[in-house]
Symmetry: D2
Subunit: 374 residues, 4 copies
């Protein structure tokens, strides 16, 4: 029997959304439990959250540096095995560095870093570290996207010719940061979010999803990165023409000002023999289309998927929290050196660095109004 | 600060699906934690599961009667506050009775009991008990169904005239109980499932959902309860004509032999001024239709819903696990005497008893081939 | 080269909807042209319509009896070949009888007759007639429904076990006949519509569609035929439990009071090996579902269908008018003794008589509250 | 009573698809009838088609120049009123010029001309002509797109910020021109199609639809026009970044190599107060989305639309052929100087010229890899 991993959390204080998701999905399987945290830069808030979660008071820390220092002094059977980082983007690198240098494993939210330069430093830290480093790209946890990749890798679509990925949300269609909306405030603040706004927040999801599923790399791009809501300080809309490394063409669009759109994310990959469509509206469905206009749908309840993914109920499908759970299981897999999950769910430092490169180059292309190699 | 509730589980051993859902969603909020369990009637399996979950060995029990007896002897700050029952239908009443008589709160899966007669006994036990009793009707946890009820209660649809509810699954389209499929085996075994098969398993969901959301009661029904897969020992398909207490007409259909259907559940309520449609394919969406063919859609991300339901992420919606979590929060609400959730999510013994009456009368109507009053 | 058929129309005066559809789709192919008509029981209206259509004034008739008498006296190369009857239900039999007895072919809207008794007389007239008699069941003209029948006939679904057909409209959700709505007025008037209202108007579509596509016959039924809008004089809602001749079970529902529903028609047929779903929302799509939850879609643009149905454009599908056109081509096929279309599109007197039987028995079952053999 | 207009057709010989659509929809209302044609450049084919349609033999012409010359010599009550041109793109200008100069009205398929230069010449001919000139942009005939324009013009969406239009087909995903497919052959032949392939064939639909519905003009664009199927001689895929004249951003994509896509056309317009979505899958539906994630749907059966569009049946919606019919009615409106239809359906020479400019500039932008003003 493998040991239960001990988890420490940095960030995720009162009012955080993503912190709860990480904690619940990391611990749902019984393979990990939360033992400590530095939940907020405000001491009282960190304590409030830690108590709410029933932690020992002496393991609710006032700062991430205190947490890492003190945890490192505990006995091996008591101290944390890994750290989950769920702070805003500008606060990923420092705590990750401390934790990795102290010998802990680290799993971190995306985008990786403040900018591409910091991402390169980050990569060096990870390369030297003893512990493992993983990232939570939600969509890599969706079983049907993993299935999509398998289908594409098998050659079933023939030569890939055209790609489309569009991720549109509407929650920033109004200038809600001016009204004190917490999530909007840091995400639209260049000092906390980094160089990119929407392009970093969800454009990177679109980019990572496209490259992960298609197996292609973006070779060059022509981007238009805009601020479309008056008064905003950072981009909220991006449209990009793409040339892939095999010659395929296409576009990527990401926006948070598409009024009324909740989570309109789709990826469409067109090949010479068949095409593959996935849409977040029905996340456990892939549609494959053929030249004679016949179509096949594959659902999450495919027998193979049920077998390999025991948590599925008959009649209930894999969504967001399940995706997160699979990502954590991939991470535990790496840590425990078991082999239960594929590489697909295990996003790592390379995904993070490449995303930061995408942000950098898209902004440059938009500013210089020209095609740029990636 | 409210205390963290201590939970004990009966059932949910290795291979159980629903046990994990109960544990995860009950404990996700940090308001409860699992402290003990009698997970299986097989001692080894109970221990295996308890260890996997990291429980103290002396609180992993061999039987539910042992568990209730021993927990009752512990100090109040140590012993369980409530019991979750996730055993097959024939094993709901006995453990619930023991637990309630020992003074514990109980939350139990549906359908309530083996048959209507047992349900009536169950009701008496609950009435006399000091502890609270709740049931987990999943669909009562869906925020949009609660919203649907509010809309209907407000009179927005005018006089209700027609109702349709259809719950079709396909996982029993083959005789998989003959191949040893665990879930299928007990659910199609009249000795474990009770008088009804599919009608009990999902017909009751459809029935409860219809009455809960519409606010109407079924006045009389004409049912056709069938076994459609050769070799099966219990009903797998039911179609029912309905007359509601306000004169509305309609139908209810539930089936587990609809080949290829995953979870095709919909409820449609037609009024003189407007109609309301909900479909499990898009569980966080209500559509309202008007006589001039205009339509309105309400999504789970409605600002009000976000405010009242903090766990929601922008761009992510409330599904199955979230529904369960809300049901548990309703239960904790009752226990702690707080008032955070509406009655809608708090299914109780009356829901359970009425469901058993529905099963009884539908089977009688089918056998006697006539309309029967409920 | 086949000759161009000469068409005469009975009914379809100013304000008629269906008359234009018949004329346009009958003549679209160039295989027929309209040469005369008795468009209304009001002389002026008949003349107005005939002039609008550019007919010779001496072939615009004041009554259908005048039309048939005078056309019969014309030379063969001048007189009509066939009559299209698009009057209200109570006025189908008389003109059809006259036309058939005069030796003309007749094509008639559904439902066939005023009641079952009249339908039986109708059948005798057709049997003795020299000319051909056809009916326009719109849905028999949909290429994908014909394809559906082929798939089912091939045994691809295995044993058929469950059927569902639901046809819901909302245009009679208000008592619009009281406000003088022309279509509503005759359709809700038992003297013009016949014994059945909604059950005759669209219930027969549902019934014919179910039997045509599945290849099964309804063996017995248990119906609930209701008037749900206060003040209405004829049924506007019907729900029926079905037992098919092979033992399959299911339901049929038809309603015109489903507020806000436009044309919500679907047929679902579940077999032991696969299921088939067709929905009027996407009329050129069939979905086939398998036990492992994989799905296939077949679209109208299937190469075979394009070849056999030349009018289709790439990228445009077969809908209502195209369906009508195919039905007329089936009729011309019969008349000209060519063999271009299958029997599927050629509804005949037997379809009409069986529909009238369905109406008769459903109403009887509803009144007597019992299962009735068909 | 207005006179029945006499129609002559140029093009539309055996095997043509669009010719039949023009003839049927132009004549469906009884307001026009076909009296002559020059259906093919091959004499025998022209005669074959003319006979099939039952035309007088002396009005089936061998060439369009013969037709226009001879028709002009007939008496006014006999000769044609207007000419319909349905030849390939390179054969629009010459016959239109002859017909207009002979005093006839002309209605012509899109795209207008072989290239932008020819379009400018065309414009001069139209300006000098006595007769009217109209174009058949199918999508301008869709009632719901006209409704969309009304909604946007009313200011209901607030400031328009983002636009997306995507028109994807799959019928050219294989090199079917190499197998002699008639439609594919001329459309992929630069000598017949003109400078643009897919961008001319359907990109212009997307462009015209976007500008017509939004009321915005494209100010500058950055295009990537590609040949993606090996062996093809003309573009089959185009992706364009857009800047609109009010500062809105967005993209336009058109492709005929999207394997398995039938007619995947959608337009999405996002404003500060609301957004509007139309999708060809459900052509009689507009969805309006609001910042609070509520949505409204407007259907073609909206009472107002029924009143103004008498051909609609309750329960049946306006699609492709209906759209064409409305366009012809707009044309007749212009000719007869009545005022039954809005300007929306009346595409004219300006639409045609602007489209040719779009093709010219998109290809230039793609070649020069830079943003270009329109």
């Amino acid at each position: 029997m493998t040991k239960i991993l001990k988890m420490g959390m940095i960030g995720g204080g009162p009012g955080s959304m993503i912190g709860d998701i990480h904690r619940i999905t990391a611990t749902a399987s019984g393979k990990a439990k939360l033992v400590c945290g530095a939940f907020s830069s405000t001491k009282e808030k960190s304590i409030e959250k830690g108590k709410e979660l029933g932690l020992d008071e002496n393991r609710i820390y006032e700062s991430y540096s205190e947490m890492i220092k003190k945890e490192a002094l505990l006995d091996e059977d008591k101290r944390i095995d890994f750290v989950t980082i769920v702070t805003p983007n500008f606060l990923h690198f420092e705590p990750a560095k401390l934790a990795l240098e102290a010998g802990f494993h680290v799993i971190c939210d995306k985008p990786l870093a403040f900018d591409y330069n910091e991402a390169l430093q980050f990569e060096k830290v990870v390369e030297k570290a003893k512990g493992h480093f993983a990232m939570t790209y939600t969509y890599k946890g969706y079983p049907l996207l993993e299935k999509a990749k398998e289908i594409i890798d098998s050659g079933h679509l023939g030569d890939l010719r055209k790609v489309k990925v569009d991720y549109s949300q509407g929650w920033l269609s109004q200038l809600i940061e001016a009204e004190g909306h917490k999530q909007a405030s840091w995400r639209t603040n260049p000092e906390k979010s980094g160089k990119g706004g929407t392009i970093a927040d969800i454009g990177t999801h679109a980019f990572n999803l496209l490259e992960s599923v298609s197996g292609l790399k973006v070779k060059s791009l022509m981007a238009d990165v805009s601020i479309l809501v008056p008064g905003r300080k950072i981009d909220d809309d991006t449209n990009v023409l793409l040339e892939m490394d095999n010659g395929a063409k296409g576009y990527l669009s990401s926006s948070q000002i598409c009024t009324g759109e909740d989570q309109d994310l789709s990826v469409k990959i067109y090949g010479s023999k068949a095409s593959l469509i996935w849409n977040h509206n029905q996340p456990n469905l892939i549609t494959i289309k053929y030249p004679d206009f016949k179509e096949e749908s594959i659902k999450g309840l495919d027998k193979e998927l049920i077998e390999e993914n025991e948590v599925n109920l008959p009649g209930h499908s894999s969504y967001f929290t399940e995706a997160f759970q699979r990502i954590y299981e991939g991470f535990f897999d790496t840590i425990q050196n078991t082999n239960n999950k594929t590489d697909f769910v295990k996003a790592n430092i390379k995904d993070g660095v490449r995303d930061m490169l995408f942000i950098e180059k898209a902004i440059q292309s938009s500013n210089e109004k020209k095609w740029i190699k990636l």
